[in-house]
Amino acid sequence: MSDLEQFRQDTRAWLEKNCPESMRVPVRGFDDFYNGGRNPEIDHPDQKLWCDRMAERGWTVPHWPKAYGGGGLNSEEVKILSQEMARIGARRALDSFGISMLGPALLHFGSEEQKLEHLPKIARGEIRWCQGYSEPNAGSDLASLATKAEDKGDHYVINGQKIWTSYADKADWIFCLVRTDNSGSKHEGISFVLFDMDQPGVTVRPIKLISGNSPFCETFFDNAIADKKNLVGEAGNGWTIAKYLLTHEREMISGFGAAPKKSVGQVALETIGADATGRLANSVLRQNIAQYQLDTMVFGATMKRVGDEAKAGQGLGAASSIFKYYGTELNKRRNELNLAVCGEQALGWDGEEYNGGALSRDWLRSKGNSIEGGTSEVQLNIIAKRVLGLPDA
């Protein structure tokens, strides 16, 4: 038996034994994933158990090195693990910005000391992170951010305000873009620092969205303290790290567009019915759904192609911008179609009969997908300038 086959068998056996039954049902939505942290939100006691068991093997971040709390698996083994998890419907044990965003940046830019300090806590779900990027006057034009960090020798004193800080009210630490120098161009003088949110100088206020939920916050810094050992990279070099991390964020957001189990066309057939030829009875809606499903299939082929090319050492430079732009626009289309297909059901806002208003709330939330992490327009600017070489106005 090959090593990989052995690995598959061992993994299968371990998952069978250790994945609680309750963790083998699909999540109800994005908020149903376990995010960890000092005060984790626990909907089901098995969430923490499942996370702890997986973390012990390093399998919450199977591709990270073992020294940093990962599983040290190669890409083939990671693939087998995810196939075996999918086989029994096991959900991800831990889902966090630490894993999807800060981790990759630290692995790439962090010092050895920083990696050893922060990565294992991410892997075990002990510390939940949030991202301090946008400011009231620095949205699409992120580099004009003004939150100031004053150098006090062994630490920085931070003053300013962030906005659209996802889940800041639930996070323990923040990775934050601050301005350490005002003398050069706006891209210079930005630094990337990490600090604990649990201090008097940090105040968090959730923002209620049109969806009725509050995934984002305003975050205020009034003489907040960041230890200098938590400056990632060089002072003034934060923009490079910020951009690297943004590509991971874009890929994550574009993944929201992944097709659900039952296609929109199937749902439409059930709610609207077919004509005598077996086609969906409403031909206008049918065309819209077909176009959406076609683009979803083509988008999937593109994700696969870019992944295969990356493995082969080739790469599409603007891939993350294309994915962010296309994936979020697709997700908005899917939500619009859900509403068109479900009609009255999709207008409910609350109550069991409307599943808590999931359809309407998801639809409203999806409008933000093409704004957060760089608007669709910013992605198109990036493609136009960096790939197509079109000049500035």
Partner: protein, 379 residues
Amino acid sequence: MALVLNEEQVMLKESAAGFLAEKAGVAQLRALRDSGSERGFSDEVWREMVEMGWAGIAIPEAFGGLGYGYTGLGLVLEQAGRNLSASPLQSTVLVAASVIGELGSAQQKEQLLAAIAAGDKLVSLALQEGAHHAPLQSSLRAQAQGDDYVLNGEKLLVLDASAADTFVVIARTAGEPGDEQGLSAFLVDADATGLAIAPRSMVDSRSAGALVLDGVRVPAGNLLGEAGAAWDGLSRALDVASIGFAAELLGLSTEAFERTNAYLKERKQFGRVIGSFQGLQHRAAEMFAELELARSIVLQALHAIDDGEADLALQASAAKAKLCEVAQRVTSEAIQMHGGIGMTDEHEIGFFIKRARVVQHIFGDYNYHLDRFARLNGF
């Protein structure tokens, strides 16, 4: 199979690009058009293509081909699309060879595929009868008479009709229009008694024509496969053809886009290059994203042929529908972004939208394939 090109494929693509740009580019197409060429392509250039093995590129080695598979042929067709290269690659190598490969007996394949691969024979499929691609609606009749069949009816949009030595004529030996049962495929030589070939002048300056069959008598041995049972094989061959034409559209659209993007950096108005205007930049960026997506589905569909995937029909309709959509958008924008110069015959960009329109139509346009895509998805 990973969605990347291997070394052999990259070499093939590069050599095709170089050859076609030099020998069969837009300038040569214009010259063919202006000379009123009835065959619509240069025999000399075709001979060179044959010598490079392209006539048998997807034909198995056992039948005298190169056995590079359809991914290999797709790469050549993509380059033919980029250069608007006129040749029988589409009519004979892509379409007719696929139909023969699907339906022919071992002996027929041995004879015909070897002749195609050697460049000794041009073959073209005669399928469409009305304004639209509707293969099940075929009504051209083939009546059994003794050991022969007698064919009566008309066909349209037969590619390279003036140059073909032999046609594969889809005819009804039984059943009614709409039925899968009863469709048959016959080999009919171009010089058959009762066959009239009418060259038609088409918008893309390529050679297509109409056939009128008036009591054309062929022996039963000219049937490809069983009488009345051509549908399954024909349908698969049409899927292959659709994917091949999607590859041509990919090359054509990419080239039209790149020429347009270059023009945006060169043309000045209001004292600066027009490519600095965001109104054009975003449209260009959207097209670029669409083209990257288009490239993925074409490659995936080509692999689906070579890997014998069960969802070939879905892949084919997805690829053709998507590429029709992208080609229409990109070639229309190419004219708009070139402005007045794009409307002139003197400029080459107009040749792209003309060829695109024909390729979009052949064997099912966007509307046909999107409808079929939905059907295949169960709605």
